[in-house]
Symmetry: C2
DNA sequence: TATATTAGAGCAAGCGATTGCGCATTGTAA
DNA sequence: TTACAATGCGCAATCGCTTGCTCTAATATA
């Protein structure tokens, strides 16, 4: 707008003291108009605000942190395990958390972690860099949970925990899996199989429950179940599928997109979809799998919504407000049908 | 280990002053043994270290930041645009950045941004919360780049820029696309088409160059090219594919996984893969697409490697060291063949 | 032995905010 | 008119750590 840019660039950052000096008022006064705490005359207030604007003053968050012993940062733990690092679920969570916390004037600092290595998280906490943490997945005996509790650090978990003291935000996986299963049974499925990862992941336990209860309602025991302890190997999954095919299984419910993609591979390779009419269902199926022909029925979860809820909860928790101990968010059952009518599913 | 836990939990955080007092030395001394700067006698040093250990003292990173006017945080800008939020590429980048910065005692704070909205980034910078920034995608006339330059904030870009002053870390997309194209031409492809997103994304310009130069080498003009301005709509992509099929195109090179998945859908729906033998190639193809039958040839990029390089560069930049202005990292051409021999590709 | 170095450690002033307390000044009730 | 409360602001301590400078004692040099 004007030619003053150059000189402006050269000037050092202006501090609260600078604007106080400029106005011949005390730093307290400036600080108080900024924070809204304390008693300030209307006129002074306006003068201060004008000056702040004019000098382009930006409060230094670090100094504020030190004075208040708060960081205004919340930590997000991001799984870095090989088999999880490709799942967009966490990415969406993160975006959701950022969205709310940013609006509440908090920032998000991330630490990656694996099931065995939480050293980045430990560093973060020990350096006092965050006021609270959100965990984005849950495993049983999670060392991260244990650590955060021992450090007395507020945290919320996206997922479920057997520890009723932790604040949990989750999809109702049990209900979701039950609903998916029932849908399949109502639509011609005779002998479904459930293919999920290790029960170390609590989500898998829930799904297993949902699956069983749906089968039970139908008074049938004609199902199979397979649980892997090591999802990272595609080969294991593929062998399991081959086994299932030998057991007259007519539908495979996959625990996540990764499993689903491997299942598809085995079936496609053998051209079995069209021949034997074996069908596939899944959870979380992402945009790639959504385009699969024939379509896959799936439980869709809005991960960014989980992130948003988690962000709100952790901030409230930090502020000492009451937060629900367990929140269950909705899901969507997408039952996709073929456009050509003869393969309704 | 012992029963002292309870009392330890109750005690307030111990500060540098506490350990100084305990040892009857000055705070400077403690500070200096921690930082390694200044002259300290060997014996005192040992005493201090022992005491730190005994009292379980953790330096307060905030106070350190204030004293040194450094935050030891680096910002990572994460795209939140709808069509990008599902791409695991950025997630891997992030993990890579975290890995190095954590080792160098820096933390990562993320800000999401879209092509139009960089307000989270602005907040981050204005609050003085980071010492440097890494951008994870490049668009022409990026407002984020302009902003960071105007704020005089060090940053590196994962991607390429026409602005030769910015530090860039990228895959050689031009070479990669040329190599992929040549591979296809050598293997029976007669009339390939390039399907990429808007040239606002610099990566697309590069690929276009690579494609053209490969075609030129082969002295052929028998190609089609299609560029979308709006990748977010799957319908647009699908219509484009139908157009291409009408043009006798025998191979489609997709700019990314999202495009690829839509292309696959159209082709699968029509059963064209087997019938007309149309083939698909892609960039970045992820674990889901990797399982596709028939296989897809693709350029693989190690995103976490890009993140690692970016993390190193930004830290060096912050420290005032020299960093290469432009780094090109490797890529892998995965030419997948069918296991059944009659469809080599 | 006298003098110049140097090693080891402390003092105190920052860094840029927040905040409890105290002191005028004004408004209000007695 | 007097006493008291409310209002508006400033003083200075504090948060926990860094760092330039100073001082002393030990060591090296002449």
């Amino acid at each position: 707008m004007n030619g003053g840019m150059v000189t402006e660039k050269i000037t050092k950052k202006v501090s609260l003291g600078d604007v106080a000096k400029e106005l011949n008022v005390s730093k307290s006064t400036v600080s108080r108009v900024l924070s809204g705490k304390g008693r300030i005359g209307e006129e002074t207030k306006q003068r201060v605000l004008e000056c702040i604007e004019r000098l382009n003053y930006r409060p230094n968050a670090i100094a504020k942190s030190l004075a208040q012993s708060k960081t205004f940062n919340i930590g997000v733990v991001f799984p870095a395990d090989k088999e999880l690092s490709q799942i967009p679920f966490f990415q969406s969570c993160l975006i959701g958390v950022c969205e709310v916390t940013s609006a509440l004037d908090y920032d998000v600092v991330v630490a990656t972690a694996t099931a065995n290595d939480i050293s980045q998280l430990v560093r973060l906490i020990h350096n006092n860099k965050v006021d609270g943490v959100v965990l984005t997945r849950s495993i049983v005996d999670d060392p991260a949970v244990a650590f955060l509790k021992s450090e007395n650090m507020p945290f919320v978990l996206i997922g479920s925990s057997t520890d009723s003291a932790v604040v949990q935000i989750d999809t109702d996986h049990e209900a979701a899996c039950a609903e998916l299963t029932e849908h399949l049974l109502r639509n011609g499925c005779k002998k479904p199989a459930l293919l999920i990862g290790s029960r170390k992941h609590i989500v898998n336990k829930s799904r297993y429950q949902g699956f069983k209860s749906a089968m039970h309602k139908k008074y049938t025991d004609a199902y199979s179940e397979i649980v892997f302890d090591d999802m990272s190997s595609g080969d294991v999954i593929e062998r399991a599928v081959i086994d299932l095919l030998g057991l007259d299984c007519d539908t495979i419910i996959c625990g996540d997109d990764y499993i689903c993609s491997r299942v598809i591979k085995v079936i496609d390779e053998r051209g079995l979809i069209s021949k034997s009419g074996i069908k596939i269902a899944s959870f979380y199926n992402n945009q790639y799998l959504k385009n699969h022909i024939p379509p896959i029925s799936a439980i869709d979860v809005d991960a960014s919504e989980l992130g948003i809820a988690a962000g709100n909860s952790i901030v409230n928790l930090i502020k000492g407000e009451l937060v629900p101990r367990k929140m269950l968010l909705g899901y969507t059952l997408s039952t996709r049908k073929m456009h050509s009518v003869n393969n309704v599913y």
